[in-house]
Amino acid sequence: MSAAYPPPQQQYTSPIPLRRANLGDALASEWTKIRSVRSTLWTLGVMIVLMTGVGLFSAMVVAAVDAEDGMGGDPVLVLGFTGVLLGSLCVVTLGVLTITSEYGTGMIRTTLTACPSRARVLTAKAVVFFLLALTVTTATAALVAVLQTAIVGGAPASGEEWLRATVGAGLFVALLGLLSLGVGALVRHSAGAITVMVGIILLPLVAAMFMSYESMYEVREFLFQYSIPSLLVAVYADSGLLAEGGPHGWTPLAVLAGVTAVVLAGAYLALDRRDV
């Protein structure tokens, strides 16, 4: 049946110099992608507004109530917690959208045709998103912390406390975003993945609040110690605030990093194995 083929011709060769693409190219590509959509601007913009707005508001309330001695010796920096928790929801959305928007539009097929290595694509996405989220969150957290300290006064914080309230909070939120990116790669659906993430963040703490039975005491304690908001607040504190004896200081970051690593590993595996 193949008799009708014309005689074999010279194969086409492109005049454009051939260069093997690498991770650096993928990083540049993902940076172009993330800065060329409005959702990035919106989610990060809303996050900055929320963090500074809520941070300033809580600082002014505290300053008005305890006008005498600030927070009465308590560290001021923990005031940043509420804003960061709210702002983290924006980063979660952005993290999910970074990958699910490609699935939603079908862009993922174009991307994986241009770069058949799934691992490279996911790594580039994770690195670019993580660095962006870390930078923006840390900068905003630092700004808010400075403003709050100026408004409230109170006990001076140590250098390490400052580091945790800025870089620590930034790392925590960026890790949470990375977790969302992993969940997004597994769920492949924007609304579904965002719902899952909101559930992961809020549900354990809410559930723990209603566990009043004695038999559930241990579960309740565990949830109070390890729910995402508890972990975040523990970043600021020298000891667990909501529950005694939980992880605090830098440990919550390690816990979250472990969970994120597991989910991301699953995402790598799924992306490699599944049909697009």
Partner: protein
């Protein structure tokens, strides 16, 4: 070169592609045809390593896609015109792909020029029409200046100028020695663009041959013979003479005869010998579309039925009889629901050579024959002087015309 060997893909219980083996060679445009749901896109995705074959394999230049060194520089693909983040500008979209593939950024502006999107390069692709989306997709495929190009339905949504452009582009790319693999269900377009065809139906290979071979293998050429309508005796006489000489004769609804198995000069001689005058003796060559329809008849998954509007229709006025039953002509599949064969491709398909519409024309389809007044369907065709066989046969309009009258209800 693309080579598939025993390619099979199952989604649960459904087998999308079964035991597909073919080769796509460089230097020609290879058309990839099949009815909706026949597995064209699945095959394309497997070629690109997006879907894993259940069994079998497909390679490009000897490598599976995911193991290709510099894949984007060797293979370019347009899978879906809307596979673009709508919030991103055309230029950013292409730039991100170029960066991912390690292609210099100035190439982006080049391909934007090639597809004619320079003026909207900064616009978000959300607002693009389908045709502009296709152009953007083609630009992405051309970005790496690759050796192998895959296009899934590239002319969908393009205007006539765009279709012509794509056709010439495909041919030019193939002429440069590239492998061009194009799927389409626009037969007329394929007839003009492709030289080689791979046809699948229900996920299985149905044909792998050149367009010319495909047409002659899957359609019977025939001669259309018309005797004077005023003298039915002559028709009977010719019928018996032709049957005697070994020709197969089928009657068309308008009284013309469709003769296979006899060359045209022989028919003329026979008629002359029997003293029968002929009003028409014309060769009919099937178009690619007819050949395709004939081949894939059994492999169509989604078949439309007549819209009966049962219960919604008024009773026809008394005396208004249904149209006479037309004899079924099995030789050539129904035509008229699809775009007519391209002009120039089949000089005999137009005018008298066109088979009459055996089915009601779908809404929006131009009627096959111009309505010549509303003659009562059961009335004998009004005797008309037909000076030359170039005029379309008028009585053929009767059934189509009748249904058309009913349509507005």
């Amino acid at each position: 070169m693309i080579e598939a060997v025993g390619l099979t893909k199952r989604y649960g219980a459904k087998t999308a592609v079964y035991n597909l083996s073919f080769q796509v060679r460089p230097g020609t445009v290879t058309g990839f045809l099949g009815p909706n749901g026949s597995g064209k896109s699945t095959t394309m995705r497997m070629i690109l390593g997006l879907d894993r074959p259940t069994s079998g394999q497909v390679t490009i230049g000897g490598h599976p896609y995911r193991q290709l060194p510099n894949a984007p520089r060797q293979v370019g693909a347009l899978l879906d015109a809307k596979a673009v983040h709508g919030g991103r500008s055309a230029r950013s979209h292409l730039l991100s792909l170029a960066q991912l593939a390690g292609i210099p950024a100035r190439r982006v502006d080049e391909v934007l020029g090639v597809v004619g999107l320079q003026s909207v390069a900064k616009k978000r692709s959300k607002g693009f029409s389908l045709g502009m989306g296709q152009r953007l997709g083609i630009a992405a495929a051309l970005l790496g200046d690759p050796q192998v190009l895959l296009f899934d339905e590239p002319v969908n949504g393009l205007d006539p100028e765009g279709i012509l452009w794509v056709r010439n582009l495909m041919k030019a790319l193939a002429a440069e020695g590239r492998t061009v693999f194009v799927s389409s269900h626009l037969m007329s377009e394929m007839a003009l663009t492709a030289e080689h065809l791979i046809v699948i139906g229900r996920g299985q290979l149905m044909a792998d041959m050149s367009v010319k071979d495909f047409i002659s293998a899957n359609s019977a050429d025939f001669a259309r013979v018309r005797t004077p309508e005023t003298e039915p005796a002559q028709r009977e006489k010719l019928l018996s003479v032709l049957a005697e000489a070994g020709g197969q004769v089928l009657s068309e609804p308008d009284g013309a005869l469709r003769v296979t198995g006899l060359p045209l000069p022989r028919i003329s001689d026979l008629a002359h010998g029997a003293d029968v005058r002929l009003w028409e003796l014309s060769p009919h060559q099937a178009s690619l579309e007819e050949a395709y329809m004939r081949l894939t008849q059994g492999a169509v998954d989604y078949r439309s039925t007549d819209d009966q509007k049962a219960g919604l229709m008024q009773q026809p006025p008394p005396g208004h009889l249904p149209p006479p039953q037309q004899p079924v002509i099995p030789e050539v599949p129904q035509q008229g629901w699809y775009a007519p064969p391209p002009p120039g491709q089949n000089p005999y398909a137009d005018g008298p050579g066109r088979p009459p519409a055996a089915a009601p024309p779908a809404p929006g389809t131009p009627a096959q024959a111009p309505a010549a007044g509303p003659p009562l369907p059961q009335a004998p065709p009004p005797p008309q002087v037909q000076p030359a066989p170039q005029t379309p046969p008028q009585p053929a309009a009767a059934p189509a015309d009748f249904r058309k009258n009913e349509d507005p209800r």
